[in-house]
């Protein structure tokens, strides 16, 4: 089943082209890592998939439906970059944060039910952070923070999970644990995963496909083939490959 299809997508910021002619598609059960140099358009691509920024060309379809007509946003879980979008002064407790994952599907006036709170408790237990339920979100460690936002995404019961640099705030040990968890979600629950990372070693270890961007699609295909290709071991791409090996 086709989960995400991007065709000839072009995005422009003022006069500069951020994405040009980007085409790829993601099938159910794929675990896709998105890599590329700084300014390659990785985050822009995610924003364009959600329709948060306008495109000047091309089309995005989700679950076989054109993005502009798509309404089942509940089936896509999203984990933004740490400290980018979350309001640092907001005094929310963990339970409230995770409940947000259930809000959008509700009809007006939106009410939180006992069943919602039960679903939140269950997902927190499943991720091993049940004891954090009443803790202030701003007091969490990097690893706890990411797991809570993952819980917010998972409580929606998504079919597609999209992560933007999910491991930036984590130490290497927590990073490995986080990716092991994603692999489990992908393999046991069949959730399709799309994640951005600067560290291609995680793509090498966990992903089934890689989308290498530099405003255009430089490569899209299996991880094995990518790491065998000579051109990605040369020139400016070398840094990313070396960077990834230095973290192994």
């Amino acid at each position: 089943m086709n989960i995400l299809s991007v065709e000839n997508l072009g995005v422009r910021y003022e006069q500069s082209i951020a994405l040009d002619g980007v085409t790829f598609s993601v099938e159910q059960g794929d675990f896709v890592g998105i890599a590329g140099p700084n300014g390659a358009g990785k985050t822009t691509l995610i924003k364009a998939i959600f329709g948060l920024i306008p495109s000047f060309s091309g089309a995005v379809s989700l679950f076989g439906e054109a993005q502009k007509k798509f309404a089942k946003w509940q089936s896509i879980g999203y984990l933004p970059q740490k400290n980018v979008s979350v309001n640092p002064l907001f005094p929310a407790v963990v339970e409230e944060v995770v409940l947000l994952g259930l809000i959008s599907e509700k009809s007006f006036p939106k009410k939180v039910t006992k069943a919602d709170k039960k679903a939140v408790r269950e997902i927190l237990e499943e991720l091993g952070i049940g004891d954090l339920r009443k803790k202030s979100f701003t007091e969490l460690s990097g690893g706890q923070y990411q797991r809570v936002l993952l819980a917010r995404a998972l409580v929606q019961k998504p079919e597609l999970l999209i992560f933007d640099e999910p491991s930036t705030a984590l130490d290497p040990q927590s990073r490995d644990g986080f990716f092991e968890l994603l692999l489990e979600l992908n393999q046991k629950k069949g959730i399709t995963i799309l994640f951005i990372t600067h560290d291609t070693s995680y793509i090498q270890r966990y992903a089934s496909k890689i989308l290498y961007l530099d405003r255009k699609v430089m490569y899209f295909g299996t991880v094995e083939n990518f790491f065998q290709k000579k051109e990605f071991r040369d020139s400016k791409h070398q840094y990313h490959i070396h960077y990834s090996h230095s973290n192994d």
Partner: protein, 271 residues
């Protein structure tokens, strides 16, 4: 001589009216202010209070009850703030500055042209809740009820958009609508607060209880509760002190809010 014993004090009709109107306004400002402060929109209250100055002058100029004119005019002002930000590609604070300057200068020109209502206009600048009429109490309670109902019905959308706007958008929440709603509700709240603290101090009632609560709250519901508590205590004791010591109610309310803010800072430092 006025008997100032505690129980007699509450028997005065004007005190009862001040408590009812002030209580509702305090509740509304504390709740709405929390969202404004967290969304970094608190200056919009200040800008709209300046627009309300122009609107009141307009009402006095045409001999219409000023607060009736102020509601639609301030709502239009809030619409322009949003539109200037969107269309002229200027930051929100700059568009607030533009619209508030129009409000103040318009008010000054109208006051100068009429030459007759400067004293009335002055009373709106600093408010006088002890002189609130029965009609104004009904006006305040009705508008407060309207604003609080909207905040109640859109609570989770407001929560989501305030906590993480980007995520809220990805889940299909219309954050633009939420911004328009908040701005319009601020316009209404600014007008209904004029009688309590006056045009000059309206924004203090929107900002101070919320920022005080945010110093010490653990959890959003607790923050809302504390904001409402600080706001109600400031208004109620402001009215009492104003009556007992014959000092202006609006300024007393604001000074009490400042004291609560200082106390929360001390509590946070000690804790």
């Amino acid at each position: 001589m006025i008997d100032t014993s505690f129980f007699t004090f509450f028997e005065y009709a004007f005190i009862q009216k001040a408590f009812i109107a002030g209580g509702f306004v305090a509740l509304t400002c504390a709740t709405l202010g929390m969202f404004l402060v967290l969304r970094r929109m608190s200056l919009i209250g200040d800008g709209l209070s300046h627009v309300s100055f122009g609107a009141i002058a307009l009402g006095l100029f045409f001999g219409v009850y000023p607060l009736y004119i102020a509601v639609p005019v301030v709502m239009i002002g809030s619409y322009f703030i949003l539109k200037i930000t969107e269309k002229a590609k200027v930051y929100g604070d700059a568009s607030i500055g533009i619209v508030s300057a129009v409000g103040i200068s318009g008010g000054v020109i109208l006051a100068s042209l009429s030459k007759g209502f400067n004293v009335d206009l002055f009373s709106y600048l600093f408010g006088n809740i002890l002189a609130i009429s029965e009609t104004e109490v009904i006006f305040s309670v009705t508008l407060s009820f309207l604003v609080l109902s909207m905040l109640y019905f859109f609570y989770w959308d407001l929560f989501s958009a305030t906590f993480d706007e980007e995520y809220a958008k990805t889940t299909g929440i219309h954050t633009n609508f939420i911004n328009i709603l908040l701005t319009l509700l601020t316009a209404v709240t600014v007008v209904l607060s004029i009688k309590v603290v006056g045009v000059m101090l309206v924004s203090a009632l929107l900002i101070l209880p919320s920022v005080s609560a945010l110093q010490i709250a653990r959890g959003f519901k607790q923050a809302l509760f504390l904001s409402i508590l600080f706001s109600l205590l400031s208004v109620f004791f402001g009215i009492i002190f104003s009556f007992l010591f014959d000092i202006p109610a609006g300024a007393t309310i604001v000074m009490l809010s400042v004291i609560f803010f200082m106390l929360t800072l001390v509590y946070k430092k000690l804790g």
